[in-house]
Symmetry: C2
Subunit: 308 residues, 2 copies
């Protein structure tokens, strides 16, 4: 369990002390104009900015992104914004887990320089009507199939945040592999002056990919959720032992997953890393990707296997 529970529970007195320290060391900004001006000035001073966009409820996966930013850049900016535009109707926007105090404690401990926590109205004023959208196979396959409009919401908010934070480098996690590839495409296509870093998946002790949504899982579901990462490990081993027929690998994954009564498969796909199109025989680098609903919680995970 990360972070150790007691350490971040922030009882009243400790919280006050931490908030005072935060005021001194970590800037918390809610207004676009304010952070945009600050970033502009930092850049004029020759400082490089590393940016970690998040939806909050931070876990060690996020912390690894922060640490990578701190290693590579002069100034680290983290945004916390649960982006309504990337939730489809009927999805978990309202109940998406939020804990800003704990998030700030974590970021302060990591010596983050600036946290940007805008209100929804600040990011989407009333008349807002412009969207960024990647078209084609990149958003049609995998999660794009069951989450229509999701990636349009993602590319739009990331484009906005890049213009607001003006980073030199942006950090994303490999857990959301399709998101990382779609954003990489967007940055390239729209010529954003930003480098993209995709960091490896961080896992719990039992291999479950870290996700803010893991908190939804009931104990029995939590146990069954690990069948996703276990199935991926088996698939990976099959490939490195010589199996390169997607259908054979997928069949094994599906059998593994179907052993769990609380788990419903959304997709099991083996796709190339460029266009995210399904491959029948694995001859290039591919992503083996799973989405499944465990209880009522939709989880995703993936592994990249290298063909050479």
């Amino acid at each position: 369990m990360w972070p150790p529970k007691g350490k971040f529970e922030c009882p009243q007195g400790a919280l006050l002390r931490i908030l005072i320290r935060i005021r001194q060391f970590m800037k918390i900004i809610q207004i676009i104009k304010e952070i945009q001006d600050l970033s502009f000035n930092l850049k004029q001073e020759g400082k490089t900015i590393g940016f970690v966009p998040t939806m909050g409820f931070l876990h060690e996966g996020h912390v690894r992104l922060v640490r990578a930013a701190k290693l590579e850049c002069d100034v680290t900016v983290v945004s916390i914004f649960v982006n309504p535009a990337q939730f489809c109707p009927g999805e978990d926007f309202d109940k998406y887990p939020r804990d800003e105090k704990k998030d700030l404690c974590i970021l302060e401990k990591e010596s983050v320089d600036i946290v940007f926590i805008p209100e929804t109205r600040e990011m989407y004023p009333d008349q807002s009507n412009t969207f960024v959208e990647t078209e084609g196979s990149l958003i049609e396959n995998l999660c794009g199939r069951t989450r229509p409009g999701h990636f349009k919401g993602v590319t739009t908010i990331v484009a906005k945040l890049l213009n607001v934070v003006l980073p030199d480098v942006a950090y994303f996690g490999q857990k959301d592999a399709q998101q990382a590839i779609v954003i990489t495409r967007m940055i390239k296509d729209l010529n954003f002056p930003v480098k993209m870093r995709v960091m490896p998946i961080v896992r719990e002790m039992d291999g479950l990919a870290m996700s803010s949504r893991n908190i939804y899982l009931l104990p029995e579901e939590r146990e069954q959720a690990t069948s996703i990462n276990k199935a991926l490990s088996i698939a990976e081993k099959m490939f490195y032992n010589g199996e390169n027929e997607s259908s054979v690998i997928k069949k094994t994954i599906i059998e593994q997953l179907n052993n769990n009564k609380n788990l419903k498969i959304d997709y099991v796909e083996i796709v190339d890393t460029e266009r995210l199109e399904p491959v029948s025989t694995i001859e290039t680098d591919v992503i083996i990707a799973i989405a499944a609903v465990v209880g009522e919680t939709r989880l995703i995970d993936n592994v990249i296997v290298r063909s050479s």
Copy 2:
């Protein structure tokens, strides 16, 4: 006729001399990475960048934008790129007038600092698949009705150019009123750190709005084309003389235009300046806008009337 013809015809010897001067004084850049790095360095030096995006075949309308940029900013960048994405099927992309030599002569004379002239492949590499689109009434009315996809092409290329040139201020002409409003919306919605300036329409001696497409007009059509600006002047006078019923003003405009046998009306609209939605009674600032095809040339023009 602007510019005086003889002055910019660039015979061989003069051209050579000008090219040598251009090399010394005006940077001509074709590669995104090159201008992006240059702009980045300029900004780090604290220089402000004024940007005039054009499709070339420059006329005095463009020159006025350049002069505004030069007045307001430390460095002036002009781009010349005939953007295929904003031409609809069957439109004049292939025959759109081009004269890069003359354009460079004009820009050099205006002491422009940097000209960005990319190849199509540089702006749209093969896999390019991300688009910026403003939705709703802004792109559905006026030109959006007869030019489907046009504004998607415009917002996408402008977003790309803003990321490439990194300007502090971008300059557009009021002649393309809808374009200016759509781009203003985009800059606001996507939080581009760029100020938008919209400069007044520049007209020929007889009132015809300057446009690169005026070159298409045969002598008789050229004469009839002025009925567009004449109709707008009449409409403007009607309003300031107390007429505020759109239908009455539009009727007068249509009658004026229909007197010309080579002219076919595309639209005559009176719309508010915020959402570009038709108004029946003029109570706020409005744009009176005309699009008409004269011979085979589509021309647009407009006038803003102030309600107070």
